[in-house]
C-alpha cells in the first residue's frame, strides 16, 4: 500500500516535469437554459458523505424523472490514488468526485483541464458559502468545486477537570488565559492541556489559520512570517510548561482522549462524531467553547478539514451533474437534512439558521454546541491554499518537531523551512 502511494506521487511529479506544454485552461461549465436534466450521473465519495448521497439520490431521481444517480463509496484511505490515476489517464472518472479542501489546489494545478470551472453557474452563490471554503475551492483561474461541509474549530473541554481545578472554561478568551488555566488544571488534576502529535503540523496549521494565514501569501513563502512564529511560539510555550500530551497520530489522539489524558482539545465540529462513536461512556463529560484568541478581540475559530464536490471534465452530462450539485448543496433543505442525519456541518450559510442547530446535545450535558459551531462558520479566516502545500507540510513537520522535541528556536527553524521551501518550489519568501 505504502509502495503504491509512493509510486503514485512519483507519477504526479513526473507529470509536473513535463510541464513544457502550453498552459491548459479549465473547461468552463456549459449549461443551456432549455436542455433537460436527464440521463445518468455517477458520483464518487466516501464515509458518511457517501451515505448522505446514497440516501438523498432517490429524492433527486424522483424530482427529475429519467435521471439515475449512482453513488459509489470508494473508501477514503486510497481515494486520491483512484482520482489521481483517473485524472492522469484522462479516463475512468465519474461525473462528480468528492475532494477535501486541501486536495483541491493540487489537482487544480497539476490537472488544470481535469475539473470543470463552475464560475458561470455557481458564482452567484459566493456570499452564501463559508468564505474560507469558497477560497479553498477557487484558484486564480476559476472555481473548481462547490463547498460541502465546513469544519469550524472550537475548544472541546472536560467539565470534570475544569470543575476540579475551579477554572471557568468561558474565561479562556485568549491563549494566555489558556496557558494559565492549563497550569492550574495540571496542578489540580495532573492532566495536560491538550493532545498534540508533536511530529505533525496539524495543530500548528490550525493555529496559523486562526491568525488568518496559510503557508503562502500572494504566492510567496510565508512559513516564517511573524504570525507563523507566533503560532509556533505558543506551542513551544505550552511544551516548555509541559502542557502538551504528545501522542502519535490519529489512534494516539483517540486513545488519549478516551483515557482522559488531557483537559481540552482544539479541534473541529466533526470531532463530536468521533467522541460519540468511540467513547459513549464519557457522555456528559465534554463541553465546547470558542477557541481562545491570540489577543483580545482576535479570531476565535479556525478550520480543520471539510470537503467539496467537483465536476470532472470527463463527464458527458454537465447539465445533470450541475443540477444535482445545485439541488444538494446550494439550498437549505438538503444541507439541514445532511446535518441532521449524517452530521455533515453545512458550509451553506443560510442553512445555519435552522432551529436544528439550537437543539441541546445530551452528549455534551445539554449544551447547544452546534449553535456555537454554526455561528463560527462565517468567521473562519480564509487562507490561501496552493498545490505546494503538501511540500510545505513535509518541511514544516521537521521544523515543528525540531522546535518542540529538540527545543530549537521557533524563528530559526521556520526561517530554515522557508528557505528550503523557497528553493524547492522556486517561490520567493514573503517580505
Amino acid at each position: 500500500m505504502k509502495r503504491a502511494i509512493a509510486g503514485l506521487s512519483l507519477v504526479l511529479t513526473a507529470s509536473c516535469a513535463t510541464g513544457g506544454v502550453p498552459a491548459k485552461e479549465a473547461p468552463k461549465i456549459t449549461q443551456s437554459a432549455n436542455a433537460k436534466v436527464s440521463g445518468n450521473i455517477e458520483i464518487w465519495s466516501w464515509d458518511v458523505a457517501a451515505k448522505a448521497l446514497q440516501r438523498l439520490a432517490p429524492e433527486f431521481e424522483k424530482a427529475n424523472p429519467g435521471v439515475k444517480v449512482k453513488v459509489t463509496d470508494i473508501g477514503y484511505d486510497n481515494a486520491y490514488d483512484k482520482i489521481t490515476v483517473g485524472l492522469k489517464s484522462g479516463a475512468g472518472l465519474p461525473d462528480i468526485i468528492t475532494l477535501e479542501d486541501t486536495a483541491i489546489p493540487g489537482y487544480a494545478e497539476n490537472f488544470p483541464d481535469g475539473l470543470v470551472d463552475l464560475t458561470p453557474v455557481a458564482g452567484k452563490y459566493k456570499a452564501d458559502f463559508d468564505p474560507a471554503k469558497w477560497q479553498a475551492a477557487s484558484t486564480a483561474k476559476g472555481l473548481y468545486a462547490l463547498p460541502w461541509d465546513s469544519a469550524p474549530v472550537g475548544l472541546y473541554y472536560r467539565r470534570d477537570y475544569f470543575e476540579k481545578a475551579k477554572v471557568d472554561p468561558k474565561s479562556l478568551t485568549t491563549w494566555d488565559d489558556a496557558v494559565k488555566a492549563g497550569e492550574k488544571i495540571k496542578q489540580a488534576t495532573g492532566k495536560r492541556l491538550f493532545v498534540s502529535d508533536l511530529a505533525s503540523v496539524a495543530t500548528f496549521t490550525t493555529l496559523l489559520q486562526q491568525l488568518g494565514q496559510g503557508y503562502f501569501v500572494d504566492g510567496k513563502v510565508a512559513v516564517n512570517s511573524p504570525d507563523a512564529v507566533r503560532a509556533l511560539t505558543l506551542l513551544k510555550t505550552l511544551k516548555d510548561k509541559d502542557l502538551l500530551q504528545n501522542e502519535k497520530g490519529w489512534d494516539g489522539r483517540v486513545t488519549a482522549t478516551k483515557q482522559g489524558k488531557a483537559a481540552t482539545q482544539p479541534t473541529a465540529a466533526w470531532w463530536s462524531g468521533t467522541l460519540t462513536a468511540e467513547m459513549p461512556e464519557l457522555s456528559g463529560k465534554f463541553g465546547v467553547v470558542p477557541l481562545p484568541a491570540f489577543e483580545a478581540g482576535g479570531s476565535r475559530t479556525s478550520a480543520n478539514g471539510g470537503s467539496a464536490l467537483s465536476i470532472t471534465a470527463q463527464t458527458k452530462n454537465q447539465q445533470t451533474a450541475w443540477a444535482f450539485l445545485d439541488w444538494l448543496l446550494a439550498g437549505k433543505e438538503r444541507q439541514v437534512s445532511m446535518m441532521r442525519t449524517e452530521a455533515l456541518f453545512p458550509a451553506y450559510l443560510p442553512a445555519l439558521t435552522d432551529p436544528l442547530f439550537d437543539e441541546p446535545q445530551p452528549y455534551f450535558g445539554g449544551e447547544k454546541v452546534n449553535r456555537l459551531f454554526a455561528d463560527e462558520v462565517k468567521e473562519i479566516p480564509p487562507v490561501e491554499l496552493t498545490g505546494d502545500d503538501k511540500q510545505a507540510e513535509e518541511l514544516l513537520k521537521k521544523a515543528v518537531s525540531a522546535c518542540l522535541l529538540n527545543g530549537e528556536d521557533p524563528k530559526a527553524v521556520l526561517d530554515g523551512a522557508a528557505e528550503q521551501l523557497a528553493a524547492a518550489t522556486q517561490r520567493e519568501i514573503a517580505p
Binding site: 503504491a4 509510486g7 466516501w46 486510497n78 490514488d81 475512468g92
Partner: protein, 268 residues
Amino acid sequence: MRRLVWVLAVLGALVSVVPFYWMIVAATHDGSELFASPPPFLPGGDLLNNIVKLEESVHFARVMATSVWTALVYTALSSLVSAMCGYGLAKYRFHGRGLLLGVVLATMMVPFQVLLVPLFQMMASIGWVDTYQAIIIPFLANSFGIFLMRQAFLDFPDELLESGRLDGAGDMRIFYRIVLPVVRPQLGALVIFTFMSQWNSFIWPLLMLNSEERYTVPVALNHLIGLSHVDYAGLMLGAFLATLPLMLVFLVFQRQFVAGLLGGAVKG
C-alpha cells in the same frame, strides 16, 4: 546453547502468534473497547455482532465470494500460462529464445507503479474499467511464474519427450500427460504464490473496480478506514476471515510447496 535455542524459539513463536492473537481479540470486541486502557487481552463476546455489522457495512459475504472466484480463475489460468511459457522457453529451440527470456526477466524489474497509468488507459480504451476481466486478464503472463517454471523444466530429461514423440503423442498431449505431472511440486508452489498475490492484490482492483458489488476483500476492507472513525473491529474481523481461504490453499498445496522450494537445493 540448547536453552538459548529454546528461548529464541519461544520468542519467535510469540512474535508471530501475538499479532494473530490480537486480530482475534479485536475481532470479538466492540470497536470502542479497543481504545480502553489496558486494552482487552481475552477474546470478547461481540463476534456475532461484528459479523452482522461487517456484513451490513461492506456486504462481506458477497465480497468474499468475488475474491474467491476471481482468485481461483486467475490462479488456474495464470499457472497454466506460466507452465506453458516456461516449458516453451526451456525445451523448444528457436531464434531469439535468449532474447525472449531476457525480455520476460526484464519485465520483472519494471515497478508496477510505472505501469499503472498506461495500463489504466489501455483498460479504459477497450471499455474494461469496472469489469472482472480487468483484474484477471492483464496479469496472466506472470514473469516470475514463467521464470520459475522454466527453471523447473530445464532439468526435465529430453529423452522422455522424445519417447513420447516416438509413441505418436502430439505436443499438447506430451505437455499435459508427461510434463505437467512431473513438475507437480513446482506447480504447487506456483499455485500458492499466484493465489496469494491475487488474493492480496489491492491497488489494481482499487483502481479498476468502481461498483461496490464488484469489490474484492482488500478493497472493501479499505472502506472501514474513514475520515473521523476507523472501524478496527470490522477491519480485524475482515482480515481474520480473509486469512482463512489462504490457509486452506496453503494446507492443500503445502506438501508440494515445500518440496518445490527445496527441489533444486541439493542437485549438482
